[in-house]
């Protein structure tokens, strides 16, 4: 008979540590979950948050030119009320000046930002040669800085401002949103009413009788 006994025991120290941790965790959770005593009344508090969307809205979505003038009567290419003549006839959407009309409304929403505007080529309905957009600062090749062959010019004008903005194919600040005629920031909800002037080409290499131009306003962050 052996005079000794072998006893094997699992160390219990780590179990004790685990139990202690679980207890501490349970106490912590119980304290956090404890409801605050209430007398049953409540207070509704309204909260305003900063806008998280930057947008621009233009009304209406399309415009029709009218009040067309200019062109050559002798060459039988003078403008009619709704048709652009050659050379360098002009058409209007709205009329400039203090007593003018400004049928297009541009509305900016969002945090303070900038409103840009740009033009594009005029697209003939029948396809083929397009009219390129030019401005007085660059590339207008007609007489007196007017559009040359297959060129045209677009200006936008606004109420209460003598400044008109000549459009280019790239983003240009819409100066109507800045009283100083510069590139100031637009506040949320601010809107401008504007009109469009279009000056046609000296002559056209495309016989299409219907053309479409696109003018795009863009909302952009400050620092642009």
């Amino acid at each position: 008979m052996p005079d000794y006994v072998i006893r094997v025991r699992r160390s219990t120290s780590w179990i004790v540590v685990l139990v202690v941790l679980v207890v501490i965790g349970a106490i912590f959770i119980a304290n956090r979950a404890a409801p605050v005593a209430s007398n049953g009344s409540s207070v509704a508090v309204s909260l305003k948050v900063v806008p998280t969307i930057r947008s621009v809205t233009v009304s209406p979505g399309t415009a029709s030119f009218s009040n067309c003038t200019g062109g050559s009567t002798g060459a039988d290419t003078a403008s009619t009320a709704t048709e652009l003549g050659y050379p360098n006839g002009q058409c209007w959407e709205g009329t400039p000046g203090a007593a003018g009309s400004f049928p297009i409304t541009i509305t900016y929403n969002g945090p303070p930002g900038l409103v840009y505007v740009n033009g594009s080529n005029a697209i003939p309905s029948a396809g083929g040669i397009q009219w390129g957009l030019c401005n007085s600062a660059a590339a207008c090749t007609g007489p007196g800085g007017l559009p040359g062959v297959n060129q045209y010019m677009v200006k936008i004008f606004g109420r209460g401002s003598d400044n008109s903005t000549e459009l280019t194919g790239t983003q240009t600040c819409d100066q109507q949103f800045d009283p100083g005629g510069g590139c100031g920031s637009a506040a949320s909800g601010s809107s401008q009413t504007e009109g469009i002037q279009l000056i046609g080409p000296e002559s056209s290499g495309n016989t299409s009788s219907s053309w479409t131009v696109t003018i795009t306003w863009a909302a952009a962050p400050l620092g642009s």
């Binding site: 005079d3 699992r10 160390s11 780590w14 209406p60 415009a63 696109t214 962050p221």
Partner: protein, 217 residues
């Protein structure tokens, strides 16, 4: 008397008919109150960590909403509008991976983007804008008035190429490594929990017990 009543009826009919006709005309005219509008998230589109040359990354999708009153076709492009430090993002690096988007008035969508960094991309910060354009279908002979909204696009490109960063092991390799690590951790845990062996000798002559102690397994 009858003639006067008849005349009054006619007058009433005219007075009622004119405003009703005007209201009907205004409600059926497609361009009377139509507007085009587009909005985009204010928060910039950015990558959480530096991009590596030669790798592709899914950028957070851009939130776009139609703020106009007519359905619009939505398109997006990359253009540098924002001033400031940072290289211009080449438009070819950003791919708009989703289908063409048509949005009804007031509806929103998220445009998925993917950043594809060429292997020869220069390291440093990049800054441009995501410009989202909304356009309604216009008629020929008109001036289409379009809208756009921009939000910043910014990310960093690391000088370390993607190949040198993570070996291209197959997935099963990573799973085996993870399994081995887990097994090693379990063995270590069991050993640390310990089995204490105690040997006790009963001294028959003295009636005492000599504890010989025991090693910890």
């Amino acid at each position: 008397m009858r003639g006067w009543v008849r005349h009054l009826r006619r007058l009433l009919v005219v007075l009622l008919a004119v405003p009703v006709a005007l209201v009907a005309l205004a409600s059926f005219s497609p361009w009377s109150e139509a507007s085009v509008g587009v909005g985009v998230q204010v928060g910039p589109v950015s990558l959480g960590s530096a991009a590596h040359p030669g790798a592709s990354y899914a950028l957070p999708p851009v939130y776009v909403v139609n703020t106009g009153t007519q359905a619009e076709a939505i398109s997006a492009r990359v253009e540098r509008l924002t001033r400031g430090p940072g290289r211009v993002v080449p438009p070819s690096w950003i791919q708009f991976t989703g289908p063409d988007v048509q949005l009804a008035p007031g509806k929103a969508a998220r445009l998925p983007l993917e950043l594809v960094v060429p292997s020869l991309a220069k390291p440093g910060g990049y800054l441009s804008d995501i410009v989202v354009t909304g356009s309604a279908v216009g008629s020929s002979g008109m001036a289409n008035l379009g809208v756009a909204a921009a939000t910043k696009l910014e990310f960093q490109v690391s000088p370390i190429p993607a190949q040198g960063l993570s070996p291209s092991f197959p997935l099963w390799t990573w799973l085996v490594i993870a399994g081995l690590l887990l097994l090693a951790f379990a063995v270590f845990g069991v050993r640390r929990s310990g089995l204490r062996i105690r040997v006790e000798r009963h001294n028959a002559y003295r009636g005492a017990t000599h504890r010989l102690g025991g090693p910890r397994a």
